[in-house]
Symmetry: C2
Subunit: 248 residues, 2 copies
């Protein structure tokens, strides 16, 4: 049964401060809950409607935590979704462990991405293009924000994110560093080599001055019409596509 | 001065029914208001803060409609933005005139795009890539929805949208027709020719069965990782980029 304390605990995880304190986060909706259950995230407590629990008995037979039957109305009241007719799970955050970049990796580096929808979409795009590692500046929005998780459509279980001082990280000097600017070499002509770090900047201001200094290769998505810029997630997709097609 | 009737009128334009009835819509925020004033949209009434009106005297000297000085608080209360510290303008909708597709045009055809943010982003992407014509199914979200206008970042003034029965339109047979599916020819290898219609489908269901039947060329964005799909706007950007780079 759902105790009052448990209800309070789950609701508190909508707030960043309590997520950080408890090192736990909430995942909502059938698709993403199933992805988390299949992933290497530790899960602790699963709330499911009768139909959800019945439809996934095989997967759930391996689930070690508590399973609680909840109706749709109560489920919705616990989370941030407008409606949730299936499931919700509490999972444990992963440690912010440094990511090792291999010589053949393409890794995206995010400088101050603020919009949770953008961060989630960037994770989904990287997952589509088989880019499994993202480095994010410390002021980039938090991975465990429910809007980030939702817009990543489950891809956050397959892509690693490491928050760090990206200025220091990029100065390390072991890898090629590309940065997306409005005045760089066309991505249609860039020689990407066999791996590298690709920096994408803030939605409104682009790559910050401090980070710009440590980027030797300025690249651009060629523009053919009147728009001033592309959204950061959209730009990331075009960069990923150009990187991948260069290795055909 | 702002009369009560005018306040009521402006507020009513947040609702589709009244926009349709009045054939008018509201544009908010300095950037988009300036784009509309420079475009071929007819504008009728401009509300501006003291600073906005003072900063754009030259542009506004050619403005034939009424100009009303409004403070930031009143401005914000009239529109849909959380805050608006600059301007708001009432403009006249354009007629839904058929778009003529030339042999060398690439034109996007939207099948049931529902999310206003997606439609606005698609318009912005087409504008970036110099694609000036979009055909939309009748159930695609309305162009003059404030969220569409906002996320297009002013690009709706440079891209024409025509709502029609896209099934009939595509059956016309004068142009190459490509459609984005999960199982088509890789966009990295497609021979785009010198022009054509490119169909993008609904966010959740893709291209509908009825439309699928009239699409001879199935194309796909190659996938390298685990995500199930890409967002419709993101996919549009990758398609545009592949079309444009094919003509290098």
């Amino acid at each position: 049964m759902l105790s009052k304390a448990r209800i309070k605990f789950i609701k508190s995880l909508q707030v960043k401060k309590y997520r950080q304190q408890e090192q736990r986060f909430v995942v909502e909706g059938a698709k993403t809950v199933l992805e988390v259950l299949k992933s290497d995230y530790q899960t602790e407590c699963l709330l499911g409607t009768e139909e959800f629990l019945r439809s996934h008995t095989q997967l759930l037979s391996g689930f070690k935590g508590e399973q609680i039957l909840v109706n749709q109305k109560d489920m919705t009241s616990l989370g941030g979704f407008k409606t949730n007719d299936s499931a919700l799970v509490i999972a444990k955050m992963k440690a912010n462990d440094p990511i090792s970049v291999e010589r053949k990796d393409f890794v995206f580096v995010l400088d101050d991405i603020r919009d949770p929808g953008n961060l989630g979409t960037i994770i989904r795009i990287c997952d589509w293009y088989g880019i499994e590692k993202i480095i994010a500046s410390e002021n980039t929005t938090e991975l465990y924000n429910p809007k980030v998780l939702h817009s990543s459509m489950g891809s956050f279980t397959r892509v690693s994110l490491f928050y760090t001082d990206i200025g220091k990280f990029l100065s390390g000097g072991k890898h090629q560093v590309f940065g997306a600017f409005l005045d760089g070499e066309s991505v249609h002509q860039v020689d990407w080599g066999s791996g590298g770090l690709v920096v994408v900047g803030n939605e409104a201001h682009g790559i910050s001055g401090r980070i710009e200094k440590v980027i030797p290769r300025r690249i651009s998505i060629p523009k053919y019409g009147g728009a001033e810029s592309l959204n950061a997630a959209v730009a990331t997709a075009v960069l990923c596509d150009n990187i991948r097609r260069s290795s055909i």
